[in-house]
Symmetry: C2
Subunit: 173 residues, 2 copies
């Protein structure tokens, strides 16, 4: 039994330990991380708020799941993801953000890998990330590609003139 | 003034006349058309129902708009569309269906063109249609392509094994 347990909890589980479902006590920190990320506009920040409401009220019903990356009591980053409606195997990453002072420490990668693990555990097959083609999101796009996401869709000027929709996707199971 | 009016209501308006916002009295016929289309599963039919609820309660708030194609009191087809959230120029076609006995009479094309006109009038730029890659939807995919929609995304096995996500898109403004 011990051997089986060891097999079931490899190093990976320890690596992912800072990433956990967001608690209600982390709400203000998550809002702060979103605000300080510096890429989201006011409407997008309001949307993060609405999704947090839905998640805290009833995560399974809302279909929005928030994970936070913690260093002690401090939230260094968060991500929101969920199943695509009418799909058994498709999932979306809705938001991912890291505190500016915690960049380049693997926070976002740990969050994304934790989501991939969860999607796989639920029998999911794809994660889709819809983002923008503007320079503001260049670092994010590079990050997604380094994490194995491939550009799957590009519709220029989709959000507004000069701000196109670019979707990345990765088959995780 | 008469000259201006004539200019503002060209033949196109007459051609589109059978297509109008769905009325509450058409609800049962719309459900029937969806059911008889033969391509939607039970969960998808429930979703059509939910969107109808939202549309009749408050269309602008819901973000779902239903159009019906009428021949007298008879609804020959319907379509549901709406703005993509967080986007100023992106719109989705959610559902489109024609009665089996009214196929090949231009009903779906008239519905789709009416949506394109409305999207353009609202300053929209893109219409996205997410559909399936299964044989069941082969006729629908061919129809979208004949209407000028290009394949923009393909994720195999996205909905479930053997049932992939295929998205078509058209720049309409």
């Amino acid at each position: 039994m011990i051997a089986q347990l060891q097999q079931a909890t490899p190093l990976r589980a320890l690596e992912l330990a800072p990433v956990q479902p967001a608690t209600i006590g982390e709400r203000e920190q998550i809002r702060e991380v979103a605000r300080r990320a510096g890429v989201f506009n006011a409407i997008e920040l309001d949307t993060v708020d609405e999704l947090l409401d839905a998640y805290y009220a009833d995560a399974d019903r809302s279909g929005y799941y928030f994970l936070s990356y913690r260093d002690g009591d401090r939230v260094l980053g968060f991500a929101a993801w969920g199943p695509r409606s009418l799909s058994e195997r498709g999932y979306d990453l809705y938001w991912i953000a890291t505190r500016p002072e915690a960049q380049r420490r693997g926070v976002a990668r740990a969050l994304l890998e934790a989501i991939e693990t969860r999607v796989r555990e639920r029998g999911g097959g794809w994660i889709v990330i819809e983002t923008s083609d503007t320079p503001t999101y260049a670092a994010a796009r590079g990050f997604y590609e380094r994490c194995g996401y491939a550009r799957a869709l590009f519709l220029p000027d989709f959000y507004r003139a000069g701000d196109g929709l670019m979707a990345f996707a990765k088959q995780v199971g």
